[in-house]
């Protein structure tokens, strides 16, 4: 490597990239430089144009104008194969994996045919051992955790000896431990001279990992900075172009009545490789936020399913809302009960929203009864649209209109809509799973504030999340779920992140492995 970095040729240089979609300019005159071995963050709110830009670099999409220089020479990429030949590897936000196939088959599909010759599974094992990314080539993808799935994508890239690795929100679905492992790998790659273009909303991570950052807003580059010298807050404000208002929580413990109660609940998981719930107890009082922490796959999905009514429990009285047993009621009946129940499941597309239906139809599906959007069996289209528009406005969802389908929104924007849809209904009980997954800083703050405000106004809020920072920010009390069991909830101000972290790992306060029985 050269001693004088100034004269070094950038590995990748973008000049004046512009790309417009009908109704929106996704990239406007974007320029960017990534040096060899540099970990370069690409920051921006949902819909700022980051994904469009990296899709262009990876050859998935073409730009309307502008040029791309690779090692100082202009290139035009016809397709991702051409990009891979140059040395560009990409880990997608929504993984491009095939569930019904093995790890090896998935990897073999994503690399050039020449590389699949010989014994691929041996090389997969070699690379995964070399970079500390354990993977079994013969496992089927659908049996793997999200973290393991991401490893497939990373290993797939590494097999091609990339010189530029693009990562689109790689940590949004990982546990803290998995994030640590990933960072080790990335730092090591950077030392070996691989450039990394890193997209994330987690600004603290950017500070610890990235050398430089380019900040985008509304499709344009608005700033460049060195993350080390910035605070998460200052970067968030550059992204938003306005001041960030942090959510404010009252630490006061509420003595409100118990709104949502789960008593000695046992439930077998309905998923392959799922976690059974074992004698779960919890109480959420009116006026408080109860946070449930836990590493992914410890029963959160199962807990959410029994709380929403997607999975019915054997004894109706195991789950009560305002004293009414609801264990045998389905989601629609639960939503309509007394004070009203708001439910925000985890997967945005296909679970939280019907992808091909418009926003107002998706709003209608959840709010029909409570918001009286239905009249003698007929849909009140006007009222439904007005409801959806209210959600869009209040939660600043970026969309051309409520008649657009749910899957036309970027992930974070759709999440805002799904959370907003429930909160606008003013339910007395709210159950949310990963409320701010993949949502930008500004919107995260507003979603969290909205949850806190709901509690302050007297609702009982149950928030299940892997994001400890989030839970400490919003919760009055925190409990931990581990291997399907719940710990006792403790006031948030009395516990530390470390204590919660130990509980999440299944280690009791005295250092013993809990639940060893």
């Amino acid at each position: 490597m050269s001693e004088t970095p100034q004269t070094l040729t950038p590995r990748l240089e973008l000049l004046g990239i512009t790309k417009a979609y009908p109704g929106v300019v996704a990239n406007n005159n974007v320029s960017l430089k990534v040096m060899p071995g540099e970990i370069h963050a690409l920051l921006g709110e949902n819909g700022a144009g980051k994904s469009t830009l990296v899709k262009f670099i990876y050859g998935v999409q073409k730009a309307d104008s502008g040029s791309m220089l690779w090692e100082g020479e202009e290139v035009r990429l016809a397709n991702p194969n051409a990009a891979r030949k140059l040395g560009v590897g990409m880990v997608f936000q929504h993984f491009s994996l095939f569930d019904a196939m093995t790890v090896e088959e998935n990897i073999s599909l994503g690399i050039s045919p020449e590389l699949t010759k010989g014994n691929l599974s041996v090389r997969i094992r070699e690379i995964s051992a070399q970079y500390g990314l354990p993977l079994d080539p013969d496992r089927y993808v659908h049996t793997l955790s999200v973290g393991e799935r991401q490893r497939i994508e990373v290993v797939r890239c590494l097999l091609q000896d990339p010189t530029l690795l693009i990562m689109d929100e790689p940590t949004s679905v990982l546990t803290p431990q998995e994030v640590e492992e990933l960072f080790k790998t990335l730092r090591r790659l950077s030392e070996e001279g691989v450039s990394i273009l890193y997209i994330s909303h987690r600004l603290e991570e950017i500070k610890t990992l990235c050398h430089t950052a380019t900040i985008m807003r509304m499709g344009e580059v608005v700033a460049e900075c060195t993350p080390e010298n910035e605070t998460a807050r200052s970067m968030a404000e550059m992204m938003m172009g306005e001041n960030l208002v942090s959510p404010e929580r009252t630490d006061r413990q509420t003595d409100g009545s118990v709104r949502l109660e789960v008593k000695d609940l046992d439930a077998a998981s309905t998923h392959q490789h799922g976690t059974d719930l074992r004698s779960v107890n919890l109480q959420v009082r009116a006026g408080e936020v109860l946070g449930v922490a836990g590493i992914a796959g410890n029963g959160q999905r199962e807990l959410m399913e029994v709380l929403t009514g997607e999975v019915l429990v054997d004894r109706a009285e195991s789950i009560t809302i305002d004293g009414t047993p609801v264990g045998q009621l389905g989601p629609v009946q639960r939503r309509g009960i007394g004070v009203g129940v708001g439910l925000v499941p985890e997967e945005r597309l296909g679970h939280g929203a019907v992808p091909d239906m418009s926003l107002w139809e998706n709003g209608f599906l959840s709010a029909a009864t409570r918001m009286e959007l239905i009249n003698n069996g007929f849909i009140q289209v006007g009222a439904s649209s007005a409801f959806a528009e209210e959600v869009v406005e209040q939660f600043r969802v970026k969309t051309p209109g409520v008649t657009h389908p749910a899957n036309s929104l970027s992930g974070g924007n759709l999440q805002k809509f799904i959370v907003g849809r429930e909160l606008v209904q003013k339910p007395g009980v709210i159950v949310v799973l990963q409320p701010t997954w993949g949502v930008d800083a500004g919107s995260t703050a507003s979603i969290r504030q909205a949850l806190i405000d709901m509690a302050t106004e007297g609702a009982a809020v149950l928030a299940i999340s892997q994001d400890l920072e989030e839970l400490f920010e919003i919760s009055n009390r925190i409990a931990v779920i581990c291997e399907g069991r719940m710990s006792d909830a403790q006031p948030a101000e009395n516990v530390t992140v470390e204590e919660i972290g130990l509980l999440m790992a299944g280690v009791g306060p005295d250092g013993e492995k809990a639940h060893a029985d």
Binding site: R84, S96, L109, P113
Partner: protein, 308 residues
């Protein structure tokens, strides 16, 4: 009961099953690529008339089979262009293809009603084919029977052990992922559709030049639909579909013999038997719903278009 009865029965079972094998194996590939072509019946009947017409006018067996394949392929080409490139609805287009094929074949076939053709020659290896029982059972079929077995083996090998087969499955499993990795979803699907069309055409050709060497309007008599059902009930596995085809063929023939022997069950019930038994058996062997879901191409019937 004497074995003299059994050998010809088994030979008829083979000829009854072979057209289903061709059509089902072709459709397996099509569906593995994520395309649902309900036009199998139409492609089969077009294959049947094209092959029969060619056989009668040229007398050449090879040309007849090729004509059958070409007719199926041409019809599937229409389907492919409409569904893959013009994004038309697969179900509606497939149904239209069947109706179109049945009508067009009747029109073309009008002048061939009553024409005759000797039928596909049986394999005759001197010495070997004359061995009692085993000779005719293993070495006494026409060439298409052997071809059908080979095609099942080849398709099974192609889907499970080749990179191209992996790509076909990938496109059917998650077309968005396949596209973002950089494969041409449309090209792969088009190839699969054309293969399925040619195979259905050969299946139809077998009916009109080997099974019953004559032309009768609507002579496929729902076999295309049976082939479609076989694919699904066989959970998209070529060998299982092959087994299903033989089961169906077998029970069809056995119930005919039973009717001939005057079994005291009304004929209508016996005629139902092949359908019931085939569905029942394949449902039972595919009863593990989790596994069945894994085998089912996740993008089956969904159109793909490049967004943005």
């Amino acid at each position: 009961m004497s074995i003299d009865w059994l050998v010809p029965a088994i030979l008829t079972i083979v000829t009854a099953a072979t057209p289903l094998v061709f059509a089902a194996v072709g459709e397996t590939v099509v569906e593995k690529a994520g395309v649902l072509n309900l036009g199998v019946e139409g492609m089969m009947i077009m294959g049947a008339i094209a092959a029969f017409a060619t056989a009668v006018s040229t007398g050449s067996e090879v040309l007849a089979i090729l004509a059958g394949a070409a007719a199926g392929l041409l019809l599937s080409l229409i389907f492919g262009v409409l569904c893959v490139y013009l994004q038309s609805n697969q179900v509606a287009t497939g149904l239209a293809l069947t109706i179109f094929g049945l009508g067009l074949s009747a029109l073309i076939g009008h002048s061939y009603v009553g024409a005759t053709f000797d039928g596909l020659a049986k394999l005759d290896i001197p010495g070997v084919s004359d061995i009692p029982t085993i000779g005719p059972l293993i070495f006494g079929h026409d060439v298409l029977v052997y071809l059908s077995v080979i095609s099942v083996a080849l398709v099974a090998w192609f889907l499970n052990s080749t990179r191209a087969g992996l790509l076909v499955r990938a496109v059917g499993e998650n077309h968005d992922a396949a596209h973002s990795i950089g494969y041409s979803v449309m090209l792969v699907r088009m190839g699969a559709i054309l293969f399925g069309g040619a195979m259905a055409g050969i299946g139809g050709a077998y009916l009109s030049v080997a099974y019953t060497p004559l032309w009768v309007e609507n002579m496929t008599a729902g076999r295309g639909w049976i082939a479609l059902a076989l694919v699904v009930f066989a959970s998209w596995k070529p060998w299982r579909a092959f087994f299903g085809a033989y089961l169906f063929g077998g029970i069809t023939i056995i119930q005919l013999y039973a009717q001939g022997m005057g079994v005291e069950v009304s004929a209508q019930f016996l005629s139902m038997l092949p359908y019931l038994a085939t569905i029942l058996v394949l449902v039972v062997i595919s009863r593990d719903s989790a596994k069945a879901r894994l085998n089912a191409p996740a993008c089956l019937g969904k159109n793909f278009h490049v967004s943005g």
